[in-house]
Amino acid sequence: MARLFQVFVALLFAVFAVEACFRLIIFPEYKALQEDTFQRHPVLGHFNRPNLELRRLKPGNYDTVVHTNAMGLRGTETDLKKELSGIWIGGDSNTFAAGVEDTETYVHRLREVGYQTANIASEGHNLSSQALLLRYLAAEGYTPRAVVIGVSLYQGAVDLTEAQYTLAGSLDAATKNTGSDAKSTLLSGLRRFGQALPTSLRDVRAVLITNSATYGWLRLGMLNVPAIYNWMKESGLRSDLNDVVSTDLDFLRPLDEANPATVRISSTADFAKQLGNWVKMTWDVPFGIILFPAYHQMYPERFRLKDSSLDPMRPLTALTAALKRNGVAVLDLLPALKASQIGSLVFPDDAHLNASSHDHVAKVVAHWLETELSIMP
């Protein structure tokens, strides 16, 4: 028994020694695999960390340095007054675009064709969190030339039925309103308590990727070696995007009343209409939505769907139609992206748009700003 204990302890220390070795020597960049770009903001709840200079690494996909300015807006612009006098382009990870350099985002590229833009996007934001941000910027005294919000399918289309408070009452009340009362906050905390420890292999992986350089190297770091990367892909040891179902399949099912995705799409369109009205009332400037297609909408032929009733295009078509019905100017990027001559629109293992796509999107958005929103460079 004592021998067994000694072996166990020796193994334990060996693991720690290996981990220290990976952290300090072999894979010191492991922190860049999962470093968060955001922090808690007193008004917005969660927003980009200000004055950020952060390496973001996804081996085989991207290795970039993300900057934010004093307000947390993507890029290195220091003159906030100048930056926020132009078109505000908000949204989620596709617009924040941590996978490309500051100067490669479509928001920055728009500057090259003469538009003054500010990237107000934040990873994980949806229309209601962007609404709070717009109200905050209004309270700070900034006025945009136009407001455009990028919405990614599918994460961007969430049920916003209960999110009306973000546009109602005072900003203070809206920001204090967490959307839930003290009872449900406590109850949800208690429920989370039951899930505090990882219960599935997926949970364990999530813990490991944020805590272990050894695991990070085995999972992603060694993919930096092209030979290993190619061998893993060819041998099927590494699944590609085509095999990953990264969406709630409800979105692909017929959007009838029984389908919960129907409410998500309609409430997103309704909220966009209300936000557009609020923008009009506050600043009297144009407002529009840009829809970013998901990977399986860009490459439906790669999506090996077994159920013929599932249609990858369904949510995009439905949301575009609902927004149009609500009188919201909308740009569906899918046709332009599909028509482009770009070999791959996204990263090899990451469904966000790559630098070439951002360049193309900038041209498409510039044209749309001119023709649909009548905003000239």
């Binding site: 720690f16 952290r23 204090k176 009362d181 003290a182 406590l186 905390g189 208690l190 989370r192 308590f193």
Partner: protein, 404 residues
Amino acid sequence: MIANFSDISVPSLGFFVLGLALVLLAWSRYRENFAPALLAASLIMVASWLSPMDAVVLAGFIFPPYLAVHVLWGRQEKAPSVFIGVVVVWEVLLFIVLRRYEWVGWIDWLDHPVSIIGLSYMLFRIIHLVVEAPSLGAYRISLAAYLSYVLAFWTLISGPIQRYDDFARGLSSVGRPEPDELLSSSHRMVNGLIKAFLIAPVFLKASDIGLVTRDDADVIDFAIVFYAYPIYLYLNFSGYTDVVIALTRLCGVNTLPENFNRPYLARNIQDFWKRWHMSFGVWITSYIFTPLTKWLLTRGDIKHHGPLTALSVMVTFLIVGAWHGATTNFLVFGLLHGAAVMAAALYGLGLKKALGKTGRNAFEAKPWVRGLAVVLCFHYVCATLALIPNQISDIVGALGKFLA
């Protein structure tokens, strides 16, 4: 800070590794090396938190007092009290500068990035050593022992505050604990981890005072917010203490003092401070309240002893408040607790006058009196603890909105 390693705190892998290494060393035949190993673990922990600038400042904070301690060690007959006083005042001033108290406007010019963890606990240990150095001659002191004590791995971040003689006696008893002790300490460690890092966070989110500003907030919401923070604080702090005490006991060290004794069952605020963060209460009594009261009473007229003791109580609690945080809120917190201690003392005196000593004791022993006192004291503590995570203006605003 160590590249690619997170700051080492109780729920971190680093703490687990260092703690396990110390426990195994204590159980092994190489246990005579425990003291240097403890110092190494302490320095690694400190290094994980500090930037180079922080480390330089910390060195400036802890090395000069060592010279004083070295000079004063065991010199009971010739201890120069003025010298001790100067060192203590210097350390306190340095602490005030480094802690960047918002109400000390004159240090605004010093805008530096120093943020040293556990600085107040280091100050307590340093003051204890400097003041007691003349009477601690029976124990050995060296730079290594001094650093081990001031930066002790297990008490670096949040105490408990240990006396040097206890620390030294503890190190001399390092070894493998008895099976009963082993089991109970392991049990206590797991309990502490569950309390501090699994259960406590559940209550933290529900303690957000913004939750009572909702239009539909009702009395139950108010009650949840009111009680959640005190529950969180107790579970977090006492859970943390459980972990570090259990860790020392697994190393055979049984001299780390307890910090909590069912504080929410206190009958009044004086009783509360004998049950809550007890090692801090003992320290503050030994080095602030008792000497200050003595100093005031020996200089004041006997008919002013009552007001002078009251003044001493208020100054002591002002310091208690200031120690808890760097904003004005904490001063108010301290003053409210000082006022409650005096109110309890006056109430006790009044009872004694009306019922006599035996009558008062009999009255206070009645279950309903005791129960009512516990309930009142608990709610007073809850109300004052609201000052810790919130600004006074936010509390007033939230209450105004809730009551409107």
